[in-house]
């Protein structure tokens, strides 16, 4: 198999990879996003650029992915949702992404638009994540679009998908992942997990279904107690471990700002360093660190588990 991206190359080389996450917001100014990506160069092999996360109408992830690659020198994983585009628009964006030199796409069904900040919008879902994966692989491998129409200079990029190890029943989620593999998914990033048991049970059922797609386990170091508390309360189906939430809360009571910041860093590093080391011993091929705007933490964590810190 040919690797078009650094991400895929490293996975194929058997290197344990790290990916980060960047979130363009409702703005035309991408300076902060680009600056946030720069410190991660050399640490994360690539960063996801979110596409209207939680169905918020934000700046185009295609444009943001391109500018991060160009101006920060950070390879991107362009997230692409089916919520907002039919197969024509998706085809157009995949072609556009390839023309701009993007090498990885994460195919997502996407949160329902009614959960976002324009809740009355028409939800599209002409395709879903499985079919978007199928479409992209057709474009790349066969050089045709979904309707079989030939593409002049087909795109060369990789397609990844998401899976939620917290899903209950997990088997239904894994069977859907199997469909994604059949459709041609090349890598998987998981929803946030906090415990090794979740990782283990994921691989158990993964193997039961003979799934081979490389997995990057999603983790979420939390910049402060507020972020942790929000996540715990508002992301259904996932909760922050009680003890972790409690010590973060204790840290939030430290009055000195610098000291507080250091404490947060220490708590996160302690928890996630051990967790990542355990993940490295599992069948996972990498870790996806979803700590938007917490570059210091991401760098430090990666350096430590690589034995550089």
């Amino acid at each position: 198999m040919e690797a078009y991206s650094n991400l895929m190359q490293e996975i194929l080389n058997g290197k344990f990879v790290f990916t980060g996450e960047l979130e363009p917001e409702k703005t035309t100014d991408l300076n902060e996003l680009v600056e946030g990506a720069k410190p991660l160069v050399g640490y994360a092999v690539a960063c996801n650029v979110t596409d209207n996360p939680q169905s918020m109408a934000y700046m185009s992830s295609l444009v943001a992915s391109y500018l991060v690659q160009r101006d920060a020198g950070m390879e991107t994983i362009y997230q692409l949702r089916c919520s907002d585009r039919n197969r024509l628009a998706l085809t157009a964006d995949v072609l556009g992404a390839a023309a701009l030199g993007l090498k990885n796409i994460l195919a997502l069904t996407g949160d329902h638009v009614s959960l976002g900040d324009n809740p009355g919008a028409k939800a599209v879902y002409d395709l879903d994540a499985v079919l978007l994966t199928y479409m992209i692989r057709k474009m790349v491998d066969e050089g045709v679009d979904l309707a079989g129409k030939p593409i002049h200079e087909p795109p060369k990029l990789h397609v990844g998908v998401a899976v939620n190890p917290n899903a209950d029943p997990l088997e239904a989620e894994i069977i859907k992942l199997k469909r994604k593999e059949v459709a041609g998914a090349e890598f998987v990033q998981t929803q946030v997990v906090y415990e090794m048991e979740k990782v283990d049970s994921l691989f158990e059922i993964y193997n039961q279904y003979g799934i081979k797609v490389p997995v990057l386990i999603g983790i979420f170091p939390m910049k402060n107690y507020g972020v942790a508390d929000y996540f715990d309360k508002n992301i259904p189906g996932v909760s922050v471990p009680k003890e972790l939430l409690e010590i973060l809360k204790m840290a939030s009571e430290i009055t000195d700002k610098k000291e507080r910041k250091e404490k947060y860093l220490e708590i996160n590093l302690e928890y996630f360093e051990n967790f990542v080391r355990d993940i490295m011993k599992s069948e996972a091929k990498g870790v996806h660190v979803m700590a938007v705007g917490y570059e210091q933490m991401v760098r430090e964590l990666i350096a430590r588990v690589r034995g550089e810190g």
């Binding site: 949160d111 879902y125 259904p236």
Partner: protein, 231 residues
Amino acid sequence: MIVVEQKPLEDILDMVKDCDRMLVLGCDGCSGIYQVGGEKQAEMLSSMLRMGKKTKGENKEGDLKIEASTVLRQCDKEIVREALEGSIGGYDAVLSMACGAGVQTVAEVFPEKLVHPAVNTKFIGMQDREMGDLHERCRACGDCILAETGGVCPIARCAKSLLNGPCGGQVEGKCEVGGYEHDCAWILIYNKLKEFERLDQFLKLRLMRDNRISESPRDLKGSIKYSGGGD
């Protein structure tokens, strides 16, 4: 069946404010069976409208003629014509309590009359008498896949009409849309297929739909094999 819901009285009064001679027309089909737009409801609505209009004083009292009637099925041109031919001349407008198809049937049969809807047509559904609820069950997609999905329709019952669910929005079998109250259709499908030892169907990658099948307007030409008429 087609599920309808009566519009708020204020909206109806506003809609018919310049109609003096009006027939409130119920339907004994779906709308009547659900007791939203049957004979009794047509009578009730007509008396409410008479009262409402009198209170508002928009019409001269002597001119006001609001009467109720019902037909067997408003979505059948022959039935509508036969039932109303003799009496329709006495009215300027018809306020229909049938689904949108019924409203338009009346309007097509009597093109010189104004026909307004008194109900909102909601969905094709199932009734749960015990709970007094109505639930959407079909979207008339034109290509029924219930045989593959354990008899649970993902088009009507999955908030995203996914062919390859469940999406990441399901939590313990509930759907992210509507605050985790509705069952996730794809978990229902999974459970059903598992029960019937047909998980191979669940594993199947479903290719994209040809949406031309469900694009409006749709017709089935020359396909009626009976004479209509309610016999």
